[in-house]
């Protein structure tokens, strides 16, 4: 057992120091009925090469995104991650450190989190950001709870353009509450959320680009919400869009939540991902999750610590603002390294490249008989209506080696309006050849 340092002799010596006759004596508090009264139907320990062979066999049964043309998005996006990012996050001192509870010997993590918070605040146009949450969906649920604490009002209105899984997570978090209004999905892009806002409304939640790829007018939403004393929560599932779109903070958003996976983090079949959250200065003390702050040490040197933890569960217990205990530190590190490698110039170029490829994709799709592109506006993702049930079309394309996008019916089962809709994304990794292959295959399938 290569990970366990003791020899049998050392174990015996240690038991001698303890004064215990055998190891079972150390489990004397365990009721006899429960101690090792079973045989586990599990294999014994295994050499590294056999474990590796087993895992490779499992991995080999999956079609990786890099294996062929790939257009899947809807909340997770395939972007290039520079080799430097993955190398750096695997350095022992980042990878195998714990939460920075001892700031004097955790300045690396703490300074990185301070830089991360600054980056997130800048791209969202907000005053402050926290040191990351689990992901965009749980961040959205936390933002809704936060808005209720701030406004002391209960009603929450979710736009129909919010990712259906995000909507489900909010529903689970607010299960007992009747005051949750979920508008129906609106694939055509017209929203009726603004006239639903009233004086009881704590917040409206608007995603942009929305689930179908349409861009939303945040300024109008902020004005309508603020006129009724409600907050605007902006949700972003594709954070690269902020390189090209106006920052939500500049348009009046009160809380911005985003999925940060696109920068620095692989697809990973859905996790681990990275929840970004940013808000206005006056709401800091209602913001969940960790915060890193600047201070000085006993010599007057600049240093960093976790701060404002009086909101947290380990101090406030049942009065805590959330039950969150950890964050996505390593994913935040990957984000921060990738973002610093991009810098402003690179981030803007990356966003432009995504948009340019999406325009090519939209134009190519629009030229196919039997395909209607629903979007007038988009960033790197769009929705098309085809002449057949979308799930079957996508499955047939997958058999041809093309992962064509997400049938909307997978996320909204039973909704006849979306049965023929496919949501497709392009990124900087999408090539002209990929688009040509998709166009040719789709043309044949729809013929």
């Amino acid at each position: 057992m290569r990970y366990l340092p003791h020899s049998a002799h050392e174990r015996a010596d240690m038991l001698g120091v303890i004064g215990a006759p055998d190891i079972d004596a150390l489990f004397s508090a365990v009721p006899k009925a429960a101690l090792k009264n079973f045989v586990l139907d599990l294999p014994a320990h295994s050499p590294e090469f056999l474990v590796e062979a087993h895992m490779r066999a499992l991995a080999g049964k999956n079609h990786a995104a890099g294996d062929g043309p790939f257009f899947v998005g809807a909340g997770a996006y395939r972007h290039h991650v520079p080799a430097t990012v993955d190398h750096l996050i695997q350095r022992s001192e980042w990878l195998t450190a714990y939460t920075p509870y001892q700031p004097e010997i955790s300045q690396g993590t703490l300074q990185m989190l301070f830089e991360f918070q600054t980056q997130v605040a800048k791209i969202t146009g907000m005053d402050v950001a926290n040191a990351s949450l689990y992901d965009g969906s749980t961040g959205t649920a936390e933002a809704v709870l936060m808005a209720r604490r701030i406004t002391k009002k209960n009603k929450i209105i979710l736009s129909g353009g919010l990712h259906p899984h995000y909507r489900d997570v909010v529903k689970a978090y607010l299960k007992d509450d009747a005051d949750l209004v979920c508008l129906s999905p609106s694939p055509q892009g017209q929203g009726d959320i603004l006239d639903k806002i009233d004086g009881d409304t704590a917040a409206i939640v608007i995603q942009t680009p929305d689930f179908y790829g349409h861009l939303r007018n945040l300024k109008a939403a902020a004005d309508a919400a603020h006129a009724q004393g409600a907050l605007l929560i902006v949700v972003i599932t594709e954070v690269v869009s902020l390189g090209l779109l106006e920052a939500p903070g500049a348009l009046g958003a009160d809380i911005v939540v985003a999925e940060g996976q696109s920068i620095g983090n692989a697809l990973n079949f859905g996790g681990p991902y990275l929840g970004l959250m940013a808000t206005k200065k006056e709401f800091i003390r209602q913001m969940p999750g960790r915060l890193c702050g600047e201070t000085v040490d006993a010599d007057g040197n600049r240093g960093f610590v976790l701060t404002l933890s009086t909101r947290e569960q380990h101090i406030r217990r049942e009065k805590a603002t959330s039950n969150i205990c950890t964050n996505s530190g390593l994913c935040a590190l990957a984000f921060s390294i990738h973002m610093s490698l991009l810098g402003e110039a690179g981030f803007v170029r990356l966003a432009r490249l995504n948009h340019a490829n999406a325009i090519k994709l939209a134009d190519a799709l629009a030229a196919i008989s039997g395909v209607e592109v629903l979007n007038k506006t988009f960033f790197n993702e769009m929705t098309i209506r085809v002449t057949q049930p979308a799930a079957s079309v996508v499955e047939r394309l997958a058999k041809r080696g093309i992962l064509a996008g997400v049938p909307a019916s997978r996320l909204l089962p039973g909704d006849p309006e979306v049965e023929n809709l496919i949501i497709l994304a392009a990124t900087e990794l999408t090539t002209d050849t990929d688009i040509a292959a998709l166009s040719a295959a789709l043309t044949e399938e729809l013929a």
Binding site: A20, V30, S92, E93, D168, T326
Partner: protein, 515 residues
């Protein structure tokens, strides 16, 4: 050193003229905003024309003001920062209740196979059969090790799993027509997440006192039970490092009263392969994959918190889950009249599943049991070596995976638990967990885990003993000044909280103030 507004130092280090105030080979590092600029980039991307954009007039008008670094600059920045961190690969990390064990690199290598890392949660299920097999296999290991009926893999962290487990209990109580049960019993020694979770779900939290020996008394549980109680949330082994000897009786009392038994599984490392929680009568328990099965903590996450469920709760598992179908495995993402729904956007922490299963296969059932036993052996060894110098609040039982001391041995020395911990930094060790559990005054909770060799444990115990003797001999200055050898001296946390500075601003943008 020059100061700008709010008394913020703009120079780095006391020397002011160099960046090398830390020590010879561990230099200080400026903020990336101080070394980068908006024109620098470490990524080569083509510039494209957007003559006919489809942004509908929502394009960015304001500047991002985002600093960039070239690749060599970034490499050096993050390598230099990393060297200001303690980590499990550089030294012992005896944080009680946090389980900092060795992180095998095979786990990392496997998690990076493109067949795991480069697959999308929403690509056709027919193209990810290997991923579903992996989830199925991991589920089998977790259910077998715990002797439970079902598992929900999706929670993103231990506390998230706890939330889901309590949601399942709430849904089950509602399905039984028992929604009037509004109380959750939580022992005083519980993790802070336990009462926070119960309160989050609208329950009122009723504390259960511990006995003088640090364990929960079945009679106290019985006395707290009523028809309004929905569940108990018990940590076992508990946060004092003790196995609850009456856990089976407690489970029976809970079930007889129509309530459920939630077990906080944060300390599963002490009993994996040795005790199956299902045999103790638990109904739900989250498993911190990142602790017990060695997915790296990464400076504070990501975690993963699957929840195992008893027969009674299995029907209330959330989506998504994996199920056998005609052609292989299927992923159930929607269930009609689903009680619980969904707690995260996709299928949970796949990257962590790969690491955890790799670790399980490497150890096997025999190795996991040996690891648990070694963790317990190590904790008891530390306790045995130090108990004559330190004070042990609960001496009646052998400890499990962590050794708990209190600060009564420091009485009248002028040295606090915090001072003691900071002195340990100067000796090259990460401090133990302090001031937790709350039931003990000045608690010091030490969890060596199974990863530490006898040699390391001896060195650690020698240092601890030397420090204890030094404190008792009146040398308080060594402690109150500590740390002196770390990248930073004691940091002013009060100032950070009173005048929060949570992001970098250009010095010229800061409001002017007198120096």
């Amino acid at each position: 050193m020059s100061m700008n507004t709010q008394g913020r130092p703009t120079g780095i280090g006391t020397g002011g003229s160099t960046n090398a105030s830390g020590s010879a080979l561990i230099p200080d590092e400026p903020l990336l905003f101080e070394i980068g600029d908006t024109e620098h980039s470490g990524v080569d991307l083509p510039e494209v024309e957007l003559s006919n954009d489809r942004l509908g007039g929502f394009g960015r008008q304001t500047k991002l003001d985002l600093a960039g670094l070239t690749e060599p600059e970034a490499m050096r920045h993050y390598v230099r920062l990393s060297r200001m961190n303690h980590s499990i690969d550089s030294g012992m990390y005896p944080l009680g209740s946090c389980t900092m064990k060795h992180n095998p690199r095979l786990n990392e290598k496997m998690a990076r196979l493109p067949g795991f890392s480069d697959i999308h949660p929403l690509q056709p299920v027919s193209t990810v059969q290997g991923a579903l097999e992996l989830m199925n296999e991991l589920s089998y290991w977790l259910m077998t090790l715990t002797n439970t009926a079902a598992v929900a893999l999706s929670p993103k962290a231990g506390a998230h799993g706890e939330l889901l487990g309590m949601m399942a209990i709430k849904a089950a109580q509602e399905a039984r027509g028992q929604s009037h049960r509004r109380i959750v019993l939580v022992p005083e020694s519980a993790h802070g997440t336990n009462p926070a979770t119960a309160a989050f779900l609208g329950y009122s939290v009723k504390p259960v006192p511990a006995k003088d020996d640090g364990t929960v008394d079945v009679e106290a549980v019985k006395a707290a039970l009523s028809p309004e109680v929905a569940a108990i949330m018990l940590t076992n082994p508990n946060t004092c490092g003790l196995f609850e000897p009456q856990v089976i009786e407690i489970a029976k009392a809970i079930h007889d009263a129509g309530a459920f038994f939630y077990c906080d599984g944060a300390n599963f490392n002490a009993i994996m392969g040795v005790v199956r929680p299902g045999d103790l009568g638990i109904d739900a328990m989250h498993i911190n994959l990142h602790k017990t099965f060695s997915t790296p903590h990464g400076g504070g996450g990501p975690g993963a918190g699957p929840v195992v469920l008893s027969e009674a709760l299995a029907p209330f598992a959330p989506v998504p889950f994996v199920r056998k179908a005609e052609n292989g495995l299927e992923l159930v993402e929607h269930v009609e009249s689903q009680a619980l729904g969904r707690v995260t956007a996709f299928h949970g922490q796949m990257g962590m599943y790969v690491r955890a299963l790799t670790y399980m296969l490497s150890h096997g059932a025999d190795g996991l049991a040996q690891a648990a036993q070694d963790a317990v052996l190590n904790a008891n060894y530390v306790k045995a070596r130090l108990e004559h110098l330190f004070s042990v609040p609960f001496p009646d039982y052998p400890t499990m995976h962590e050794a708990l001391f209190d600060d009564s041995f420091l009485k009248d020395t002028g040295v606090t638990t915090l001072d003691f911990a900071k002195a340990l930094i100067d000796e090259g060790f990460h401090p133990m967990t302090m001031y937790f559990p709350l039931v003990v005054h000045g608690a010091m909770l030490i969890e060596p885990t199974e990863s530490e060799s006898k040699q390391t444990l001896d060195k650690f115990c020698d240092v601890m003993a030397e420090l204890a003797q030094d404190a008792k001999s009146g040398n308080s200055a060594r402690f109150t000044a500590a740390p002196v050898k770390a990248p930073r001296r004691r940091l002013d946390e009060t100032r950070a909280a009173r005048q929060p500075i949570l992001k970098w601003e250009r010095p010229e943008e800061l409001p002017q103030a007198a120096e």
